[in-house]
């Protein structure tokens, strides 16, 4: 591509390098700083990320609407075939680059307040930096293998950050669960890589996109890649780790488990969309909408504010995946983009609530679970700023018109409407489910905001709650501002703005009627929620426990594999070692037998001969006993024998 070479200057490349490597530098610097100077980290890490984010803006402007930037270095050869490590920076990647660095910067900034005084501060910022680096790696990777590398590395940093508070048992368990379930998905991803390697001989995304004909096993390969997405983006059936992952620090939840990492799955789907066959896309749509529905239902009844947000994240991710399945990666990316901002804003807002209540608790020496919304209420008076930000972001999540969420959700609904075709098929169920999900989204968002901020104060009444420092409010404010419709387009009812049109070249995709229906639907949902759920809390164990998926997995996967492990251990000790021991015993027994044979028969014969000769010797010696009379006796006997012998 000649334009690639001319368009991108050296300055651009240096910038790109800075953007990618500064988080890594942050990781190294934060990791090396001694414990007592840990306050240094709170300056360096956000600074690095700020530079990185500024660089990302420049890169975004340079790449947006231009030819993709491609650069690669040889990484290693596999059996004579070169695997390169490189950058493939197209529009989607540039957008993600921007989102990741920007939100990561905000979260860094926020964390300096949120995590102040934490014992593992350096480790926290190091892993945050490492995560950002790995995430950028996923975004930029030009080959599936390299993407897999960073795919696993974000899993690792997610593990480290979920388990950041190591002394908490739940955190350790949640971290393990997150990594394991991701790993299961990654195994699928790996199989997909094998299939692609075996049938195309390359991992390079550009080269793969140039393959026009369908290669054998392509459906299987794409579904295997999707397995990776299922793990990373918490789709059914591997969705249970994300709610547990809320044990990590809240900024981490905002960055990793809402805005970026979990969205990596959607990004991957969009990036290699050309690989997916129609059959595979149908499966993806089905799984996506199923996940969205399940998570939305579960979100309805959760009490933990972070879990509500986690389920809501899963649900939104399900929608995005369904959009990809419906053949609209642009819609999915648009939703990903808007979702990243408003969900990060919601998480950081929830983080503020948790943080200030914790601090207030410490001052008042009172202890209750500040994340449980049943303990909260009426906080709008004490936390007006947070309330405002929360409501704005919540409106975006609920898809209220004039907020970004409305537009992106509109795009998805439009995509599914287009996709369902004219005749009646199962795809109608998907569309209906999508509408139900958007209805449920409104209800649980309303329930959450209402319970936390409206009504009377409950257990927080006596606490001296104050707004957090500006370093924490700032990021939330920025995110809240980014949750309005202007982010997408000037026109608050048409999602086909600068963003969507770049990603989606067809144009004229928008259906006005969908926007209207969607707006009315949301308003209906708000009114239903206001009248029905304002004061009620629903309690449903099935939904609270997410359809008992965890228990099911414990029964059908974890427990059997544990039993199998115990069995193999037993088999090793009892049968293999048993066999070894038995053969050893047999050998010893045979040895004893042989030994006995040696002693009794062989030695016995020798000894027998010896004792015979000794007997003979003793016998003959007895003639020489110095006993004259014996001599005589024997002489006589000999004579007698001699006589008999001679004379007869």
């Amino acid at each position: 591509m000649p334009e690639t070479q001319t368009h991108y200057t050296t300055f651009f490349e240096v910038c790109l390098l800075l953007v990618v490597l500064l988080p890594l530098v942050s990781f190294v610097v934060s990791g090396r700083i001694p414990q007592r100077y840990s306050w240094v980290v709170t300056f360096t890490a956000p600074l690095f990320l700020l530079i990185s984010a500024i660089g990302a803006i420049y890169i975004f402007t340079a790449v947006w609407h231009h030819q993709p930037y491609i650069a690669r270095v040889n990484w290693f050869t596999i059996g004579g075939t070169l695997v390169s490590a490189g950058v493939y920076l197209n529009d989607i990647a540039a957008l993600m680059l921007l989102v990741v660095t920007f939100i990561s910067f905000l979260v860094h900034l926020y964390s300096t307040g949120y995590m102040a005084g934490d014992a593992g501060l350096t480790r926290y910022f190091a892993m945050l930096g490492f995560f950002t680096f790995s995430m950028l790696g996923i975004v930029l990777a030009d080959s599936l293998l390299l993407m897999f590398v960073f795919w696993e590395l974000v899993g690792f940093s997610s593990y480290m950050l979920i388990g950041h508070w190591t002394e908490k048992d739940e955190a350790a368990a949640a971290a393990k669960k997150a990594f394991l379930l991701n790993r299961i998905g990654d195994a699928g991803f790996l199989v997909g890589l094998m299939l692609i390697w075996a049938y195309t001989g390359t991992f390079d995304i550009v080269q793969l996109s140039d393959i026009n004909e369908v290669f054998s096993w392509q459906t299987a390969a794409s579904l295997c890649l999707f397995a990776g997405v299922i793990g990373k983006s918490a789709q059914f059936p591997l969705l249970t780790w994300l709610p547990d992952a809320m044990e990590g620090p809240t900024p981490v939840s905002a960055l990793i488990h809402a805005a970026t990492m979990v969205a990596a799955g959607v990004f991957l789907l969009a990036r290699v969309y050309f690989l997916f066959t129609p059959a595979a896309l149908d499966v993806i749509a089905g799984i996506g909408i199923l996940t969205a529905l399940m998570a939305a239902l579960s979100a309805l009844v959760q009490f933990d504010i972070k879990k509500i947000l986690a389920y809501s994240t899963i649900s939104q991710l399900g929608l995005m995946v369904a959009a990809i399945g419906a053949g609209a990666p642009a819609a999915a990316i648009l939703h990903l983009f808007t979702h990243a901002f408003f969900k990060a804003g919601l998480f950081l807002g929830a983080g503020i609530i948790i943080h200030v209540l914790h601090q207030a608790q410490q001052q008042a020496h009172e202890h209750f679970n500040v994340q449980d919304i049943r303990n909260l209420g009426g906080l709008r008076k004490k936390l007006p700023f947070t309330f405002c930000a929360f409501v704005i972001c919540g409106c975006a999540l609920a898809g209220i018109p004039f907020f970004s969420g409305f537009l992106s959700k509109d795009a998805i609904l439009t995509a599914i409407t287009h996709w369902k075709g004219d005749g009646f098929s199962w795809k109608w169920i998907v569309l209906a489910s999508a509408f139900i999900v958007s209805f449920l989204t409104v209800i649980y968002t309303f329930r959450m905001i209402w319970t936390v901020f409206m009504g009377e104060e409950k257990r927080t009444a006596s606490l001296p709650v104050v707004e957090p420092p500006v370093i924490m409010r700032g990021p939330v404010a920025i995110l809240a501002v980014c949750s309005v419709w202007l982010l997408v387009d000037i026109n608050p009812v048409n999602f086909e703005g600068w963003l969507f049109n770049t990603l989606h070249a067809d144009g004229n995709f928008h259906i006005g009627i969908i926007s209207i229906v969607s707006a009315l639907w949301v308003i209906l949902a708000v009114s239903v929620a206001y009248f029905m759920f304002r004061s009620k809390t629903i309690h449903d164990d099935l939904l609270l426990n997410n359809f008992y998926l965890d228990k099911l997995y414990f029964k059908i996967v974890e427990n059997p594999s544990w039993r199998l492990a115990v069995f193999t251990d037993y088999f090793d000790r009892r049968w293999i070692d048993g066999f070894i021991h038995a053969s050893a015993y047999a050998q010893v027994t045979v040895s004893h037998l042989v030994g006995w044979f040696d002693r009794a028969i062989v030695d016995g014969t020798v000894n027998g001969i010896a004792s015979l000769s000794r007997g003979v010797g003793n016998f003959t010696r007895s003639f020489q006993g110095g006993k004259i009379q014996s001599y005589i006796l024997w002489a006589i006997l000999a004579i007698i024998i001699f006589l008999i012998w001679i004379l007869f």
Partner: protein, 171 residues
């Protein structure tokens, strides 16, 4: 069966019985006396066999000489031990077996061999037995006789030396 024959059988029986009791007896002193009985009956048999000189010599030397010496020996050893000299037996079964076997063999050969023509197996009295012996000793057998004498002398001196050297050693 005349008187002489009866005597002969009698002394034969006495000698045999004495020999048997010598085998069985355990007291050395008695043994010596039994031997005297045996030797005397042998002397009698010699007489009955017309060997008067041998018989006399038998009585003189054996009964009178050797036996006396033996009895002295018995008394000397018994005196030192300070108790009657009673002996134990050894090799009883082996000895019995050997002797009975030998005796059986001898009897078998004696009975199976014919040493003499029929009728010539009777003893005859020589006319002048003692005379003849006397002449014989001084003529035909003079050298052995003298040698025997010297031997006897040497033996006696030797015996005396052996027996007496004990004291000289002890003193």
């Amino acid at each position: 069966m005349n008187f002489v024959t009866i005597l002969f059988y009698f002394f034969e029986a006495v000698a045999a019985l004495a020999a048997l009791s010598l085998v069985l007896v355990r007291n050395v002193f008695y043994g010596a006396l039994i031997l005297v009985v045996c030797l005397l009956s042998l002397a009698a048999i010699y007489v009955l066999a017309f060997a008067e000189f041998v018989a006399v010599t038998q009585i003189l030397i054996y009964a009178g000489g050797i036996l006396v010496v033996i009895i002295f020996g018995v008394m000397l050893t018994a005196k030192i031990a300070g108790k009657p000299l009673v002996v134990k037996h050894t090799n009883v079964w082996g000895g019995t077996l050997a002797c009975v076997a030998l005796f059986t063999l001898l009897l078998y050969f004696l009975s199976s061999q014919k040493f003499f023509e029929d009728g010539k197996d009777k003893m005859q009295a020589a006319d002048t037995a003692i005379n003849t012996i006397g002449f014989g000793l001084m003529t035909e057998f003079v050298l052995p006789f003298e040698v025997a004498g010297i031997l006897l002398l040497a033996a006696l001196i030797g015996a005396a030396v052996i027996a007496s050297s004990i004291k000289s050693r002890n003193v």
